[in-house]
Amino acid sequence: MIETYHLSKIYTRGVHALRDVSVRVEKGEFVFLTGPSGAGKSTFLRLLVRQELPSDGQVSVGGRSLVSLSPAAVQEYRRTVGFVFQDFKLVERKTVLENVAMVLRVMGVPEPIQQRRTLQVLQGVGLQHRLNAFPPELSGGEQQRVAIARALVNEPTIVLADEPTGNLDPDLALEVMDLFRAINARGTTVVVATHDRELIRRVGHRVISLEHGRLITAG
């Protein structure tokens, strides 16, 4: 489903973020992307969500190359991908419900469907009782669950998470991982970038290791 061929990314002043990375992630698979800080994990995810273009090589999802997509096609592709950030990226002036529904609102989805889908995903992450709370009123774990709900509300086929437990204590981190496992159990492909080896050991799944932008192991 996700394939990269000799993927490289060089930033200005010659910084190599990724060097010749070729990996394959099957449809419905749960994969950890790991490595120390600066290994290229975030760059890899940004290339997968077409936030950046590779300097060399190819990246394709579902057999479609992401390199040659038009701006409109990029947006269309992103609707099939859910993205979860380490710092949650919630809009503080919007409630939990509005943060999650925002995605459907801008797409012109009718309000009753917005409501139903939003409530469903918030129920799925166990936040149905905090609908009208604002992000600063929530704990870190709750904020991350809102971010996960927002990533899921559009029913994506792939979920990408960049250090989703980086700001959480170990118990909350495991709770969030349970959510990802549940998402994966419904057939969604999940790629989680983390440097937390203990978490990977406890959750257990295929691991793609990067170091200094190079692929070390692909599981």
Binding site: R79, G82, M102
Partner: protein, 302 residues
Amino acid sequence: MVFLRVLKLFLVEAVESLGRGWRLALPALITIASAVAVVGAFLTASATAGRVLAAWSETAELSVFLDAGIADAARARVEAALRDAPAVAAVAHVDRAEAAWRFAREFPDLAPLAASLGTSPFPASYEARLRPGVAVGETDALVARLRRLAGVVDVRYDRALIDRAAALLETGRRLALVIAALLGLSAAVVVASVVRLSYASRRDEVEILLLVGAPLAAIRGPFVVEGFVQGTLGALAGLAVLAAGFAGLRARFGTALAAALGADRFAFLPWTAALALVVASALVGALAGWLAVGRRQLVLRG
């Protein structure tokens, strides 16, 4: 339905954004209001001047001054030349006594001096009122023909003055157009800056919307509508200021202006012109919003 839902969303987002950043939006609103008030004032003055000139044109007169010793036959030829001319609507004869009486009425201080001369020093004349819309060439030909007639000492024609005033008005209108364009441009720049600041304050939100695949038009929409709302509100404020100024001017100088320009010639901007100003301002605001958050910028950020 989807379009209306999305439009409503844009409007709500835009109004909320203006509500949050009203301190930032205020300079833009003041700039737009000033621009609209200035352009509106120009249009009002121009329309008033146009009405006055049109009225003058309709009452344009030709005066044919006669020699003191003109023979009756010659005088009859002058009168016939005027009455037969298609450009002339009406002809009146002013004899020397009436000319003296008019002088005494217009310049009462000098009246005794004129009276001391015994006989009236003023020549008799024919006053011809011209038909409205007569071509300048036709009138010029008539003036030249009259000047050649025996017993005619001078022909005065105030059309030339009206034409010069019309040319001046046209220059003023062109100047106003340039000023309007400059003011519109400056208003657009200010609106674009405010929208850009609003965009900067919602950058995280925009980033999220980009990553979840929101259509680019849906991301830009609220910013375009924000510019549109600023343009509309600014124009309405400008027109309100202009209307207040006009009402004040009319209350203070209404009688004098009516006497000088004629009743009903000093009137406020027609509603069509006011509507055109609001629409133009709204469109300039929307364009500024659209340019402030460019598609290329979003694509690169994405």
